[in-house]
Structure formats: C-alpha cells, structure tokens
C-alpha cells in the first residue's frame, strides 16, 4: 500500500506531469494556478527538466509549443485571463499537431473576475476558445486522486493523438489539501509519441498515407537528426503551406477525425447509482462532488437519484447523454456557471427529456443541499 500524503490539486497536477514524463514547463503565474509553477520550479531541475517563467502567457504557451516541436512533453498552466491569452498558441499546436497539456484552473470571469474564487465558466472556452474548425480533448477531474490520474491520461492522449489536451480544474480543487495515496509509478501506463522508423530523409511530419492518421513525431533524442518544417498555415504532408482544395479539406477533416474516430479510447465517464434511478443529475469536475453527496442524501430521503459524470468533457459524451434522454423523464444539469454544458446536454437529448438546472456563478461552490432542493422540486 502506498503512503498517505496531504497534497492539493495544483501539486498533484505538477507531480503527475513529472510522472507522465513532462520535462518542459513554461508559464506565467496567476491565481489560483500559481502553486503549479511554484512546485515545478523546484521539481523540474531535480528531474533534469526545464522550468521557465516568461514575460507573459502568450510567450510561455508559445515556448511550450516550441518545446513540444523539439520533442519534449510540455505543459503550461494558467487561469481564465491567462488561458484567453494562450489561445493563439493553442491553435498553433492544433494546426501543427503537437502534443501539449494546458491546465486551466478555473476562476470567476469574464476578465480578471474573481481571482481567488471557483467557477466552471471556461468549459466552452476550452472547446471553442481558439479559432477555426478544430477538435479538442478536455478532462475535468472531480477528486484529488483523479486530478493526478487524469493529468497522466491527458499527457498520454496528447502524445498519442498529437493534440493539445486541456485539464480543467478550479480554484477549489487547486487549493483543496487532502489525503491522497498515489499509485505506484510502475503501475502507470505512460504513452510516448510514436517514433519514426524511416531514415530522416524519408520522414515527413504529416505523411498520413505512409504512417497513418497520426504520423510519428521525433522525440527530444531524435529531434536533432530529423529536419522538418511546421507552420500555422494549412499544410501538406511535408509541413509546407498549401491551398490545394482537396489537400486542405482532407487535412482539416483528418485533424478532427483523429480524435472523434478514437472516441472509445478517449471517452471517460461515470454512472453513479444510475441503474435504478428515477432522476438523472448531470455534473462534472468538482461540482460533481456536490452532486454525489446530494445523490446519497436524496437516496436516504427515499428519492432514487443518480449521476452521470463525464470525466472527458470534450469531446462531449453525446451518445451517453442521448441515451439518458431516452431512458429518463427528468434530468438536472448542474455546473458552476450560468449554463454552458447545458447547451450540449440540450443538443444531445434533442428535447426528449425535461431539463432543470442548478447553476451558480457567485464564486462559491454549489452546495449539495441546493441540488437536493431542486430534486425535491422537480419530482
């Protein structure tokens, strides 16, 4: 059995990043994410990695993209205002198809909003914050241990699919100090980007015909032997720009398909006491903890409630939510914002279910009692 420790969400993201093989962190501090750079500024040098604080969020995210290009597993972290600034670089990573992990410790907004207080109001920003057609992966852990395991999974998916992956935590999870027993490192599945097996002169970074939909990408050991071009412009297999209609269309579609086509591998969700439930709750991230407690308390009071909790929030679990729409009469959507995932739930269920909400954007967590009160109201 592993040893019990007391850690907070920010420290767990940092330690998980190191366990996942991240050896480059670039960022600019911002509450409530600052313990991530604080922790990694000590830990990265200890493991032979690079920690860099830049002049701002734009530069730091660009550096993280650059490091990924050079073969490093890289990460950047921030909160809403900083994530807004990073969008340009995140889009670049989407187009260049570079692995990148972006941590958004969500706080109240828009703008500088509520620096020290909780929110889940950046979930749509994660999906559509950067411009252009693109698909994104985002995970939203509920507990401290899950913050650790989902960070590892975020790196694995970033490497496997050559894509940016968001980790969406929030001010509560970031600063929650609690008991954790971390898994034995030898039991962790760590995925590294596929390495080219062809000689450097035959390697092209987007040669899908030869290598498949996610071509290999040199790691930091091989990077110096493989010369290749990447750009933010739509590209052909060599990484040089193209405006060829067929090539662009195929590339755009493939970049989305490499994620949606592997949904079985990427999706992750929990059905909590849903088997015999009469009322479904939709919740994610730390807010799911409140919903979980509410479900337990409801059952003690004779209300058969259950919770559906996406852990991978992007791509949205459309099939699962559509099923719930067919099998239940009523659903409560709860999130710490004024209604964002609500749109996705409505879209997926297509009017087949009566949806009520417990939404709050006041900088404080939604309490189990609020969800319980809503359950009693709708039943």
């Amino acid at each position: 059995m592993s040893k019990a420790q007391i850690m907070n969400g920010n420290e767990l993201v940092s330690e998980a990043a190191i366990a996942a093989g991240c050896r480059f962190y670039a960022g600019y501090p911002i509450t409530p994410s600052s313990e991530i750079p604080e922790h990694l500024s000590k830990r990265m040098p200890e493991v032979g990695g690079v920690f860099m604080q830049f002049e701002d969020e734009i530069a730091s995210c660009m550096a993280a993209v650059g490091a990924s290009y050079a073969g490093y597993k890289s990460m950047t972290a921030s909160s809403g205002p900083g994530i807004s600034l990073k969008q340009e670089a995140i889009g670049l990573a989407c187009m260049m198809e570079l692995p990148l992990v972006v941590v958004n410790v969500m706080r109240g907004g828009p703008s500088t909003g509520l620096p020290t207080r909780v929110s889940q109001a950046d979930v749509m920003q994660a999906r559509w914050g950067t411009h252009g057609d693109h698909m994104i992966i985002a995970v939203a852990p509920e507990t401290l241990l899950e913050t650790y395991t989902e960070t590892i999974r975020a790196f694995n998916m970033a490497e496997k699919y050559r894509t940016p992956v968001y980790i969406l935590t929030d001010a509560v999870l970031a600063h929650l100090n609690g008991r954790v027993e971390l898994p034995d490192p030898s039991t962790l599945e760590i995925i590294d980007r596929t390495q080219p097996s062809v000689p450097p002169e035959e390697y092209n970074p987007y040669d899908v015909e030869r290598f498949g939909e996610v071509p290999p990408l040199p790691n930091k050991e091989k990077f110096h032997d493989y010369r290749f071009h990447m750009t933010g412009l739509n590209k052909d297999k060599t990484g040089f720009p193209t405006v060829n209609k067929e090539a662009v269309e195929a590339d755009e579609e493939r970049m989305i398909r490499k994620i949606t086509g592997n949904i079985k591998d990427i999706e992750s969700f929990e059905y909590y006491k849903m088997d015999d439930a009469q009322l479904a709750i939709f919740a994610y991230g730390t807010n799911a903890a409140a919903a979980r407690v509410a479900v337990d308390e409801a059952r003690e009071a004779g209300i058969k409630a259950g919770m559906f909790r996406p852990i991978t929030v992007w791509p949205f679990p459309e099939k699962q939510v559509a099923e719930i729409g067919k099998n239940f009469d009523k659903m409560i959507v709860t999130e710490i914002n004024l209604g964002q995932m609500l749109y996705e739930v409505e879209r997926a269920t297509k009017g087949s279910i009566e949806i009520s909400t417990v939404l709050q954007a006041a900088g404080v967590p939604i309490r189990p009692q609020q969800i319980l009160d809503k359950m009693k109201e709708v039943l």
């Binding site: 007391i6 507990t143 600063h175 100090n177 309490r367």
Partner: protein
Amino acid sequence: MAFHYELRFAGIGGQGNMLAGAIIAEAAIFFENKYATQVPTYTSQVRGGPTKADIIISDEPIYFAESTHINFFLALDQRTYNLYKGDTLDGAIVLVDSGLVNVPDEDRAKWDVYEYPIIRTAKYEVGNVITANILSVGMTGELTQVMSLDNIFKAVEKRVPPAFLELNEKAFKMGVDIAKKLKAEKGK
C-alpha cells in the same frame, strides 16, 4: 454513523488561520490515519482580507470539502465572524478572540461559546504574535477532543521551522492549559 467532524477557522489574512487548519488536517491524516481536507478561502489581498479554512475529518473519503455543518468555529475577527458563522450547527463549540469579536446574545444561546484574548496572549505571554495560530490549535485540540493532543502536536512539529519550535510548543501548551481553564470555569 461514521465519524465526521467539521471545523472552520475564520479570520483576516496574515493571522495564520490557513496554516492552523492545515495542521489539524495533517494531524488527522498522518497521525490518526483518518481522511481529512482543508480548503482555504481568501481574497486577492495578501493581508487583511477575510479568510477561512474549512477542515473536515472523517473515517470515510470526503467528496464535498466545504464545511456546511460546522461542529467547531474559530473566529479571530468580527467581520469574518459575521460573514462565516452561518454554517455552524446548534450546540457547536465556538471560540473567539475576546479582544476582537463581540458575540451577540442570540449566538450565545445557540452555541457553546468560549472567549479569550488569543492574539494578546500570543503577543505578551508567549512572546510573539505569530504564535497566535498555534495557541488556537492547542485550544481547538483541548476544546474539541477531536483527536489526541499528542498527535496534533506532532503535526505542529512537522510544520513549524525548527528555530521556532520551542516558541510554538510554549504556545501550544499554553493554548491547551487556557482551554482546560475555560472548560473548568463552565464546569466541564
């Protein structure tokens, strides 16, 4: 029902209430083998803003970590007392700094209230105002009996810089003694 105890330490930024809360949670995890959480709430101000640390100790994993049914409430500032007292259960133990917090009569009727000049005592009797939080930890341990005082002190030792250990030990023991005296005055 499984053991479940909720505390809230409220005050203003700089008083050390966050650390005091962390020490209680760490004592529970490391030395009592329980589940515990500490959630700090603060403002953008480095010092002077209202702060609270919510601590939950349980035999079972804790999901929702904000204290909503408080068994013990500590307040070292009037504004935060007013702001954060709302979740305190009837019959709960309430400890305030008598020099800084006025407890209204209606609150006295609901709660088991203890008042003491904690910050003054830390400054003039322990000898350093920064020990006010450890004095509070000692008082909390004795008033709540939520775990063994030895185990709480082990967590203090783990957290406090060695150069200040002696001073903090003095504060902790003084806190325990004061709490014993206050309980005796109430016939407890």
